[in-house]
């Protein structure tokens, strides 16, 4: 019968973990700038494309 206590405890712990994750995210400033990351995300491909180029140059040097 006391299984409900265990279940409730687990469910609340899970909820609290997510809540803490939220607080930590806010505290780290994740929500301060909501635009730049959306643009930055698209740059990753460009950077990879460029790396071989740079290395080629240094080889020539």
């Amino acid at each position: 019968m006391s299984v409900i206590y265990i279940l409730l405890t687990i469910s609340i712990i899970v909820a609290v973990i997510f809540f803490i994750a939220f607080i930590v995210a806010v505290k780290s400033g994740q929500y301060d700038d909501s635009y730049t990351p959306s643009v930055r995300m698209l740059f990753e491909d460009e950077l990879i494309k460029e790396k071989p180029k740079t290395s080629k140059l240094t080889n020539q040097d």
Binding site: M1, I4, Y5, L8, I12, A15, F19, F22, I23, V26, K27, G29, Y31, D32, D33, S34, Y35, T36, V39, R40, L42, F43, E46, K49, E50, K53, T54, L57
Partner: protein
């Protein structure tokens, strides 16, 4: 001549095209930036966006003050001796290429690490190795690629800003508690007398109690504080009934579960707070790249070059400038204090101060006022006053700048709330008295029920959602408001006052009219070609106005600084410039700027420049005159009076030669007669008037450039839509009133249940979100509907 645009910055390459790498550039500066990028394999910059760049400015010697330790200490966020972290404001950030290049700064110099751009705030935060690199070098590197940081006196005196995130925490807590309490109270809604549910009822209830604790004691703290402040000031603001509702909800629910009367109202309590905070969050739209609180500090440099007694140049902090100090003002530098010109060719651009774009010429011995920008070469001056005592900065000593506008203003919601609270309290007492005689066991139940159900959640949401939504709609149309209450104040305006220069006239274009002997086509050709070589603003304007001619190569070209131009082609010689320069002595003092022309030493005539008024000006004034009193306050002379009379409706008042203080006093006078004044201005000289007016709007050609402290910033190209914005703010107030009616309707239903003693928690839990959501839906649809024509 075919117009090609610069590969780097996109400007037209009209005077001198620089070809490099099969690409054309408008100037050497742009070419250099391109070279820097291509040498470091950063040409990706040009793939992301075409013509993303900005031309680098000449900054030689400008940042010498950044080598001073006390200034560095104020600017850097973090310093452990080995590395420093600094956040720099760069107004030029405008596209994804900018983000990309700035976040790849470490490729340009290995001493820089982890640069991070905040696009909204237009800042870049970077770390650099302070043992091998300095702040000055960082700034110079940024400037050399066209991203010159803006460092002003404000950065020096305010220090680090602190981000307040408490609202988002509160919202998170309320949402978290709301969700969990809803789950826990769900079984009780159905009143199923199931054995296990009955068994665990107390446990579930106490769990709900636990979840509501942080909501009551943390998330709702703002409402208690505000209600307390309101009561102390003897004002029944909207937070009074809300705070009362929260207290009653919490106490009644606690008593209910303690003595097993029922399940309590924890679901309504947490839901109420969640919706209220959501409304607050929604209203709190800020434009982080704009600042509405600027004073002279954000225009002024941190330091300037001082010439010591033994003739050495030394950077000195602006606040440390004393009377009779000798100062060196370089090209494009701002004059920080009032003083006397000693040496050099001064052409002072007072556009920061007056909005007037034409530079003023000064000769040695003339007085210079703080706030002007030197535009040709460097000058030496002697300080007459310290920064705080200068003519312009003294304006900020006026009381207007020290009081907040919101204080003397009762919002619509608070006006309703006053009557509402009184009505609710009387209903509560009357019904309780009735039940005391009829069935005294139910009296307390009825009393608390009335206060719970009447908690004005929907009323409190009506204004934030309507005004917040309107704020966003205005923002999309380039009209940026400081906060939502500005809309309420705008709706109450009955007088509109305009500044002239820069506000109803455009800074960019001006028109010129030619008077004198007609120029032959060869003379015109020579004139146009001579102007081609000059970068003086008047030459550029005149060049753009003249018809196209073939390009000829001049045999001789000379620019006499501050006087004029001289061009020779074959046998023809042309002189363009001031009256004295071309050899004509004028006795009559002219009110308008003019450029004189002589050909082969015979005087030909002059081009007189007129302000060009913004598009749709007279149409706007004619629409506005029906509802508002209009006036124009100008710091200029009366040169444009006749022109304005033709353009504007007859009843428009026009005052000229107004000093900043006069403008402020004029508005104060009208306000004392009961007028609600809106002021539109653009320069620092309007700052006092903008602060004094009920709604101060700064007009800006480029919203990223600085504008004085104000309630709203309007993009100049939307100037002719001002009438629409005013109309919409009135509609917004109507929508708020309708939403009040809607929420009162829900309250009447709720009060019926409460007064008759039938308020079950489930009814409260249905009515409360229903009323809130329907108010939110109504206001959102209504605001979008009224603004559908705003394009």
């Amino acid at each position: 001549m075919e117009h090609t645009s610069c590969f780097h910055c996109g400007d037209l390459c009209d005077t001198s095209t620089v070809l490099h790498d099969e690409k054309s550039f408008c100037c050497q500066g742009c070419k250099t930036v391109y070279e820097i990028f291509s040498d470091n394999d950063l040409t990706c910059y040009y793939d992301l966006q075409s013509n993303p760049g900005t031309t680098p400015q000449d900054i030689q010697g400008k940042y010498d003050f950044l080598s001073q330790q006390n200034i560095i200490d104020k600017l850097v966020e973090f310093d452990d001796g080995k590395s420093q972290i600094v956040t720099l404001y760069i107004p030029q950030i405008h596209c994804s290429s900018c983000i990309w290049i700035l976040e790849n700064l470490n490729k340009l110099n290995p001493n820089i690490s982890s640069p991070q751009v905040d696009f909204g705030k237009k800042t870049v935060r970077l770390q650099y190795n302070s043992e091998h690199y300095s702040l000055k070098e960082v700034v110079i590197l940024l400037s050399s690629i066209g991203y010159e940081p803006y460092i002003s006196l404000e950065d020096f005196s305010t220090g680090k800003s602190h981000v307040n995130r408490s609202l988002i925490y509160k919202l998170g807590i309320a949402g978290f508690a709301f969700g969990n309490v809803m789950f826990l109270s769900f079984p009780e809604y159905f009143e199923v007398n199931e054995f296990w549910l009955e068994q665990y009822k107390p446990f579930f209830r106490w769990l709900m109690f636990a979840f509501s604790l942080p909501v009551v004691f943390y998330a709702s703290s703002d409402y208690f504080v505000s209600a307390y402040k309101g009561l102390r000031a003897k004002v029944l603001n909207i937070d009074v009934p809300i705070a009362l509702g929260i207290i009653v909800l919490f106490l009644r629910s606690t008593i209910d579960i303690m003595f097993d009367f029922g399940s309590g109202f924890f679901d309504s309590l947490t839901g109420l707070l969640f919706f209220l905070l959501l409304g607050k969050f929604f209203q709190q739209k800020t434009y982080s790249f704009l600042s509405f609180e600027r004073d002279y500090k954000s225009y002024f440099p941190i330091a300037i070059t001082k010439i010591t007694k033994d003739g050495k140049e030394q950077p000195v902090q602006v606040y440390d400038i004393k009377e009779s100090d000798r100062l060196l003002i370089r090209n494009e530098e701002l004059i920080p204090v009032d003083g006397v010109l000693i040496k050099g060719n001064a052409k002072i651009d007072y556009s920061f101060v007056t909005g007037e774009s034409e530079a003023v010429r000064k000769v040695s011995g003339d007085k210079l006022f703080a706030g002007g920008k030197q535009t040709s070469g460097s000058i030496e001056m002697e300080a007459l006053k310290s920064v705080e005592q200068s003519y312009l900065t003294q304006l900020w000593g006026n009381d207007v700048f020290n009081k907040s506008k919101e204080d003397g203003f009762t919002t619509l919601t608070n006006m309703i709330s006053k009557r509402f609270t009184i009505v609710v309290l009387s209903i509560a007492f009357i019904s309780t008295t009735f039940w005391l005689f009829y069935d005294s066991s139910k009296a307390l139940n009825v009393f608390t029920s009335v206060l719970i159900i009447a908690c004005p959640c929907a009323i409190a949401l009506a204004a934030p959602f309507t005004l917040g939504n309107m704020l966003r709609i205005f923002g999309k149309h380039k009209f940026y408001l400081k906060n939502a209450t500005v809309i309420e104040q705008m709706a109450a305006i009955d007088t509109i006052i305009f500044d002239k220069t820069g506000t109803i006239t455009s800074n960019k274009q001006s028109t010129a009219k030619y008077e004198g002997a007609t120029l032959s086509s060869s003379e015109e050709k020579l004139l146009k070609n001579t102007l081609r070589g000059s970068n003086h603003p008047l030459s550029r304007t005149l060049y753009a106005l003249l018809e196209e001619h073939d390009i000829i190569t001049l045999d001789q070209f000379e620019e006499h600084l501050g006087q004029g131009l001289e061009g020779v082609h074959l046998k023809d010689r042309i002189k363009i410039g001031s009256a004295n320069f071309v050899g004509k002595n004028t006795e009559t003092a002219l009110l308008n700027t003019a450029v004189h022309i002589s050909s082969n030493n015979t005087y030909k005539g002059k081009y007189t420049f007129y302000n060009s008024y913004r598009k749709g000006l007279s149409q706007l004034f004619n629409t506005l005159k029906k509802q508002y009193d209009l006036a124009i306050l100008s710091g200029d002379n009366e040169g444009e009076l006749e022109n304005l009379k033709k353009l504007l409706p007859v009843r428009t008042k026009m005052l000229f030669n107004q000093k900043p203080d006069d403008k402020l006093e004029y508005i104060k006078y009208h306000q004392s007669e009961g007028a609600k004044v809106m002021m539109l201005g653009d320069g620092l000289n309007d700052a006092g008037a903008l602060a004094q007016s009920n709604v101060g709007i700064a007009l800006s050609e480029n919203v990223n450039v600085f504008s004085p402290a104000c309630d709203a910033i309007l993009d100049a190209e939307k100037f002719n839509r001002l009438g629409d914005f005013l109309g919409l703010s009135k509609s917004a107030i109507k929508i708020v009133n309708w939403s009040f009616m809607l929420s009162l309707f829900y309250n009447v239903i709720g009060v019926y249940f409460a007064v008759t003693g039938q308020l079950a928690p489930v009814i409260a839990a249905i009515l409360m979100p229903l009323s809130s959501i329907s108010v939110v839906v109504f206001t959102t649809i209504a605001t979008n509907w009224v603004s559908r024509n705003l394009k």
